[in-house]
Symmetry: C2
Subunit: 116 residues, 2 copies
DNA sequence: GCCTCACATCAAAAAGTTTCGATGTGTCAA
DNA sequence: TTGACACATCGAAACTTTTTGATGTGAGGC
């Protein structure tokens, strides 16, 4: 799992910009068209379009065309994938847990002695 | 919850850089000193120091000084907070769900009619 | 004390992201 | 078929992040 750090970093980019978090917060309330998303942000139309592209590429947002409008909504699948990825990133790995170095003076366990 | 988007974006920055994901992956295997983290990355010592600072400020990593060495490890609390935040960001909000606009031609429900 | 090592900090350069205004594309209504 | 609208795309400017090499700080060994 999770060998492609570049891919994973790209997915996480959805969440590390203030405007994108505001957009996601709006989408929690249900599907919205771009023009309404724009009402609540202090950016121009082309910047919104740029952020929506990032959100869609990261997989957490889906879009639906409806005549001249585009509606955006949270993707349940994408959201589940993002949450699972984050859990994986932060879950200690049982097999290797407990090995540290630079032991003697501070009570660390030493794993191989090449440095501490 | 989650009114401070800037704060939240800052926390999520921990996860949106490839080198930081590699560092976190190493820390899943247990506490490590900076020199060993460095062995597995293609960056210099000062760049590692910069990334560690970001990881610590975001709360997902803790450090422990041991003589001249510094050991880093995942913070269980910080990790739990990050996961909870991401779940909050991606969880649809029951009360408002189901309201869309621009209805007629594509089967959308219309919430107030001011635009579609 | 003096030297070395581990890590932090700094300033500057390099790389990447976000914004803007202008322009392009497709849809709809008149 | 023309015009207006919604959104995407483009190139350039503004801004932020990341990297580098140099230097600072504090610990430990001699």
């Amino acid at each position: 799992m999770a060998y492609d750090y570049a891919e994973q970093a790209k997915m996480m980019k959805a969440f590390c910009d203030e405007n994108r978090l505001k957009i996601l917060a709006q989408l929690r309330g249900g599907e919205q068209c771009a023009c309404r998303l724009l009402d609540h942000l202090e950016i121009g139309q082309s910047a919104l379009s740029y952020h929506m592209k990032i959100l869609i590429e990261s997989g957490v947002v889906e879009s639906r065309e409806c005549g001249k409008w585009t509606h955006y909504r949270l993707s349940a699948q994408g959201s589940a994938r993002a949450i699972a990825a984050m859990q994986a990133i932060l879950t200690p790995n049982e097999r290797a847990e407990g090995k540290a170095r630079h032991g003697a003076s501070c009570g660390c366990a030493v794993s191989d002695g090449t440095r501490g």
